[in-house]
């Protein structure tokens, strides 16, 4: 009898302990909580660090309180989103190198907002994701993987995303009709990298201190407007924007400044490149093997070398006109605001360095005047703007702050040298 009682007691204790264990597990397993949320329901995460990979496959909303961290170091992404209508907000993700991506997205109509992702892996990877939107996300990496990657993902929108120190900020491959708006990418390899993706809309983005601001390749029908690509000048292959195999696209109102090469165009046809401000680059625009592009109403200001271009593709030519060239001699006799003197640029230097890249050391060499005479290109090769703009259409007011230091320096220089001259003349 007594032994039976004891046994029963033991069983009871075991049951209690066992039960308690299950409850505790349910509390720590976030996945179980997520699974318990009904479709359309919302789960708010308490601040804290959750170290388990999450899978969101139902249309639910997951919101993190301030200070919610999700850590992942397994072979799973920190957060996997599939299905449709998943909303994810206010979460920080910390990932390691070995995870495939911090966040993977697949399916349609998802919305991700206010995320902070810090991972040596890919930040967000979209595979066959459609119609989803991404907003106010901060991504930082270690320069080895891409910030956001799109594979066969269409009609997605990316807005106000900040990306630092990744390989390519936003990488699109075989992904059409995506919109990139107001994103900021810096200190990476390529800011925006478009591959085989058509009808992309790239607007109001800023890309700076990268190897290349925007690497736009193999696309047609895209719009690149109002972006700022500047300060991409550290790498020997740096450029503000590169267009390679780009067709029937619009490149308008961009500010391309302080890059090694501002605008690099090759193998591209039928593009409208208008009203861009291409300023203070080492080379403003470098154009090769292109045809039937319209290069109009752009402003070329303060570039060490405005334009280098080698002939058309398949006998075609580009329409280059009405651009503003600050170093051009301008004369307008008929009052139409366009100069009667064409602006011409001989591509001899580009031809020279294409054959022997070592001669790039002669860039802007004072002796090039003579070399140019010797290597004069045939007339058909010379880039010609038939009617350059007389005045710069959009001129920003200059903020000139006479620096006190500069003034002081000039005074010191003047007074010291005068004193020395005075001393030299006086004493004998």
């Amino acid at each position: 009898m007594k032994t039976i009682m004891n046994l029963l007691l033991l069983a009871g204790i075991l049951t209690i302990f066992g039960g308690k264990g299950a409850v505790a597990e349910a509390e720590t397993s976030l996945q179980a909580l997520i699974n318990a949320v009904p479709e359309g329901g919302t789960l708010t995460l308490k601040a804290g660090t959750y170290e388990e990979p999450l899978i969101l496959k139902k249309p639910i909303t997951l919101i993190g309180e301030k200070g919610t961290f999700i850590k992942a170091c397994s072979d799973q992404p920190a957060i996997t989103i599939t299905g449709k209508n998943v909303i994810l907000k206010g979460v920080s993700v910390i990932g390691c190198r070995q995870i495939p991506a911090a966040v993977t997205v697949n399916g349609r109509n998802h919305h991700l907002e206010d995320l902070v992702i810090n991972s040596a892996s890919i930040g967000i990877k979209l595979e066959s994701a459609v119609n989803s939107s991404f907003k106010n996300i901060e991504i930082s990496g270690q320069g080895k993987e891409n910030g956001i990657e799109l594979w066969e993902s269409h009609q997605n929108a990316f807005e106000t995303i900040t990306i630092v120190r990744v390989q390519d900020g936003i990488y699109l491959e075989n992904s059409h009709n995506n919109t990139l708006l107001g994103n900021h990418i810096k200190e990476s390899r390529y800011g925006i990298h478009v591959m085989f993706s058509d009808h992309a809309t790239i607007k109001k983005n800023t890309s700076t201190r990268n190897v290349t601001g925007a690497m736009v390749m193999e696309t047609s029908g895209s719009t690149i407007e109002d972006n700022k690509f500047y300060g991409n000048n550290e790498s020997v292959n740096a450029q503000g924007m590169l267009l390679f195999d780009v067709h029937d696209s619009t490149i308008r109102d961009n500010m391309i400044s302080e890059n090694r090469v501002g605008l690099f165009i090759e193998n591209s046809t039928g593009n409208e490149i208008t009203s861009n401000k291409i300023t203070t680059n080492f080379v403003g625009a470098q154009i090769m093997k292109t045809a039937e592009n319209a290069i109009e109403d752009n402003a070329f200001i303060g570039n060490v070398n405005h334009i280098q271009a080698i002939g058309g593709m398949g006998g075609g030519t580009n329409q280059i006109r009405h651009n503003y060239w600050d170093s051009a001699l301008k004369l307008d006799t008929d009052g139409d605001g366009k100069s009667n003197l064409p602006y011409q640029a001989d591509p001899y230097f580009l031809t020279l360095i294409k054959e022997t890249p070592e001669y790039q050391l002669f860039f802007q060499h004072p002796g090039l005047i003579l070399l140019q005479k010797m290597l004069k290109s045939p007339a058909g090769m010379v880039v010609t703007d038939v009617a350059p703009q007389m005045e710069q259409s959009t001129r920003e007011p200059l903020e000139s702050q006479p620096s006190i230091l500069t003034g002081a320096l000039s005074l010191v220089m003047i007074s010291t040298s005068l004193l020395i001259i005075f001393y030299g003349r006086k004493q004998i």
């Binding site: 203070t280 020279l352 890249p357 050391l361 620096s403 003034g407 040298s417």
Partner: protein, 270 residues
């Protein structure tokens, strides 16, 4: 040596031609600054910088070589050198005394002209950045020093002022004007893999090239030179970059000094 230095400096300040340099520098720099009034920012390696660098490379080496070579050739021609030979002055003391005198004279007048142009630029409301101005100033000073010395070396080779003039112009034409054309012509004869090392050697041999590239790198323009020079650009850009310049210049002077010292000593012995 100090006496020679001071006397050279004092004779210079008494020459009227000395002050034409002042006028020249004020006009050149003021014009350059004023022309760039409409440009957005005059800081890094822009067309303003490129233009100024090129104009300095046209003017400074030629003028400095002529000044340097004339100062020696003149004394050879009018017999002052023979007079000096009767005094117990050593050849290096003579050479370097004159050299420092000329440097003092030229840098002072350049500094004055540069300072005045800067003031004019500031009054005209042109935003000039301090760091950028200082780099142009140092670039000019280096050119002045290097080419004055090269000019003096020319002066020891030639016999007359007319010869000094022609040789100076010829050297200037070779080192500045025809340099890329000549190098490209010569390098066409060598196999491709040798082009890169020979270009680097040529850069070290020609001080104008060395200084031009060094300063363009300081203006953050180094990436334009391409892949072959990535390591050189990296070296110039790093903290040790200025140290490299400080090592290069004495070595260069040492190498160039061999000719004038040898020739002067021989002439003295005659």
């Amino acid at each position: 040596m100090v006496n020679l230095w001071l006397s050279e400096w004092k004779t210079m300040t008494r020459q009227r031609s000395y002050y034409t340099f002042l006028i020249l520098w004020v006009i050149v720099f003021s014009l350059l600054y004023l022309l760039e009034k409409n440009n957005p920012n005059v800081t890094g390696f822009t067309n303003t910088t490129g233009t100024i660098v090129n104009i300095l490379l046209y003017l400074l080496p030629l003028f400095m070589m002529m000044t340097g070579s004339f100062s020696i050739a003149n004394e050879m021609e009018n017999g002052q050198w023979h007079l000096l030979c009767t005094y117990p002055v050593s050849v290096p003391a003579y050479l370097f005394g004159k050299f420092f005198g000329l440097i003092t004279a030229q840098t002072v007048v350049f500094t004055l002209g540069y300072g005045i142009s800067m003031a004019i630029g500031l009054v005209a409301g042109i935003p000039l950045e301090l760091n950028w101005l200082l780099l142009i100033y140092f670039f000019s000073l280096m050119l002045i020093i290097v080419f004055l010395y090269l000019g003096m070396s020319i002066g020891t080779i030639v016999n007359t002022r007319w010869q000094a003039f022609t040789v100076s112009v010829a050297v200037w034409f070779l080192l500045i004007m025809i340099w890329p054309t000549a190098l490209i012509t010569v390098l066409r004869l060598v196999p491709y893999p040798l082009i890169e090392p020979l270009m680097k050697v040529a850069m070290i041999v020609n001080p104008a090239e060395f200084l031009r590239i060094f300063f363009i790198v300081q203006w953050d323009g180094g990436s334009i030179f391409g892949q072959s020079y990535d390591s050189i650009v990296g070296l110039f850009q790093s903290g040790t970059g200025w140290l490299v310049l400080l090592i290069y210049l004495p070595i260069y002077f040492g190498a160039v000094s061999v000719i004038p010292l040898f020739l002067l000593m021989r002439r003295r012995a005659q």
